[in-house]
Symmetry: C2
Subunit: 243 residues, 2 copies
C-alpha cells in the first residue's frame, strides 16, 4: 500500500497526546477539550487515545505535570529570597500561559514527578536558607496559595490587557449602584481605570509583600533560637506566634 510514502504516519504517543491536548486547551479553553476533538486534532479516533491514557482524568493529570516542567526551578546559587522570587514569577507566568491549570484541583491529589521535583526543590531552598521544617511548611503553603489564588482571580477577571480592563470597569460602573458600593466605585475609577492598569501587575506587589513577611518570620525564628531553644527544637510547633 502507498501508506509508507504518502502519510508520515507518526505513531501516537503519550507525549504527543499531552502536547496537543495542552495546545487545544489553550486555544478552546479547558471546557473545549474533548476526547473526540483531541482525537481529530491528532488525526485519530477518540477511542485510540485510551491506549495511551487511562481516562480523561489521567490525561488532565498528565497535562498539569507537563506544564509544571516549564517552571524554572529555584537556583542553588541564589539566596533563598531571589531563588523563590524567580521561581514564583516563572510559576505565575506558566499559569498565565495555561490558565486552565489553576482550575484543575484533582491533579494535586496525584502529583506527577515534575510536580514532586518542583515541590522538593522549593522546600529545599527554604531549608537551606535557614528555615526550620515548620516554617518551611508555612512558607510553602503561603506562597503557593497566593500564586494559585492570584492565577484563579486572573483567570476569572478578564483584565489581561488595558482595553479589557477599561471595558470591564465601565460595564461594572454602568450597572453598579455607585451610592450603594462607594468604595468599590472609588477603587474602580481611581485605580482600575487609570491608564496603563493591568491586573497582572499586582502579582509581584503581593509577592514581595509575602516575601517581606517570610523574611521577618525567619529573622524572628532565628532570633528566638538564641534566647530559647524551644523555637528551633520543637520543629512542628508554631514558631511564629509562639508567645
Amino acid at each position: 500500500m502507498a501508506r509508507a510514502e504518502t502519510a508520515p504516519r507518526v505513531p501516537l504517543t503519550r507525549e504527543r497526546i499531552l502536547h496537543t491536548a495542552i495546545e487545544l486547551a489553550g486555544a478552546r479553553g479547558i471546557g473545549g477539550l474533548t476526547m473526540r476533538g483531541l482525537g481529530e486534532a491528532l488525526g485519530v479516533e477518540a477511542m485510540s487515545l485510551y491506549n495511551h491514557v487511562a481516562n480523561k482524568a489521567d490525561l488532565l493529570n498528565g497535562m498539569v505535570d507537563a506544564v509544571f516542567a516549564e517552571i524554572e526551578l529555584p537556583s542553588h546559587s541564589d539566596d533563598w529570597r531571589t531563588a523563590i522570587r524567580k521561581r514564583s514569577v516563572s510559576f505565575h507566568a506558566m499559569l498565565t500561559r495555561h490558565p486552565w491549570v489553576s482550575g484543575l484541583r484533582d491533579s494535586a491529589t496525584q502529583p506527577g514527578t515534575s510536580t514532586l521535583r518542583h515541590h522538593d526543590r522549593v522546600i529545599g531552598t527554604f531549608r537551606n536558607g535557614g528555615f526550620s521544617v515548620a516554617l518551611a511548611a508555612h512558607a510553602f503553603s503561603l506562597i503557593d496559595s497566593y500564586i494559585y489564588g492570584f492565577a484563579l482571580q486572573e483567570a476569572a477577571l478578564p483584565l489581561a490587557t488595558e482595553e479589557q480592563s477599561a471595558e470591564v470597569a465601565e460595564a461594572m460602573m454602568a450597572q453598579l449602584a455607585v451610592a450603594e458600593f462607594p468604595y468599590l466605585a472609588e477603587l474602580t475609577v481611581e485605580h482600575v481605570m487609570q491608564p496603563g492598569y493591568q491586573y497582572s501587575n499586582e502579582f509581584t506587589i503581593g509577592l514581595d509583600l509575602v516575601l517581606d513577611s517570610l523574611e521577618a518570620a525567619l529573622a524572628k525564628e532565628q532570633g528566638a533560637s538564641g534566647v530559647d531553644d524551644s523555637g528551633a527544637g520543637r520543629a512542628h510547633s508554631m514558631p511564629i506566634h509562639s508567645e
Copy 2:
C-alpha cells in the same frame, strides 16, 4: 381541591432551588450536581427549574452569591486588622463548608449583590484604616488571592482530619523515592505526620503573616507621606516599593 391539606405543595422558588443545589453540591460534590438530580431532590422535573434559573451557569452564579452572604462582613467598630482578620477567617470557614466555591471561576465575572457588598465593605475597611486607594487594591488582591488559593489546595489535598493526613502522608511516602525527594520526605515525616497535624491550621498562620506585611506596608506608606506628599497624592502609583 384537596391540594391545600394533603400535599404541602410548596411552589418552586429561586431561593429554594439555590438552597437545595448548595446542599446537593455539598453531599455529592459539584460534579454530582445535575439538573435532573436537583429536580428530583425538589420533587420536580429537571426542565421545571428553567422557569427560575436561566441555565446552569446562572444557577452556579446564584449559588456562589448565596454562600457569599454567609461571610461575616468586616465590622466598623473593629480596627482594620481585626476586622479583616475576622472576615478572612469567616471567609475561609465558608470555603471549607462549600469547597466547590473556589473551583467556580466563572462566577467572579458576574458577581451578585452579596458578593459586591462584601467586596465593598472590605475595601472600605482598608480605606478607613488609612490605606491609600492603591494600597487598598493591593491588600484586597493579596488577601483574597491567599484565601482562595488556600481553599483550593485544601480542597485538593484531603488533609481535613488527622487520620486523613496520616493516610495520605503514608501513601505518599510509600511510593515516593525518598532519596530523590529528600526535603519533601523530611517535611512529610517531621511535620505532616506529627500528631495533631491538620492542614487547615496553616490558614491562620499564613493569614497573620499576610496581615503583618500589610501593616508594615501601611506604616511605610504613612511614614512616606510625612516626608513627601507624592505617596498619598499619586494614589495609583506603587507606594510600597517606591524607593
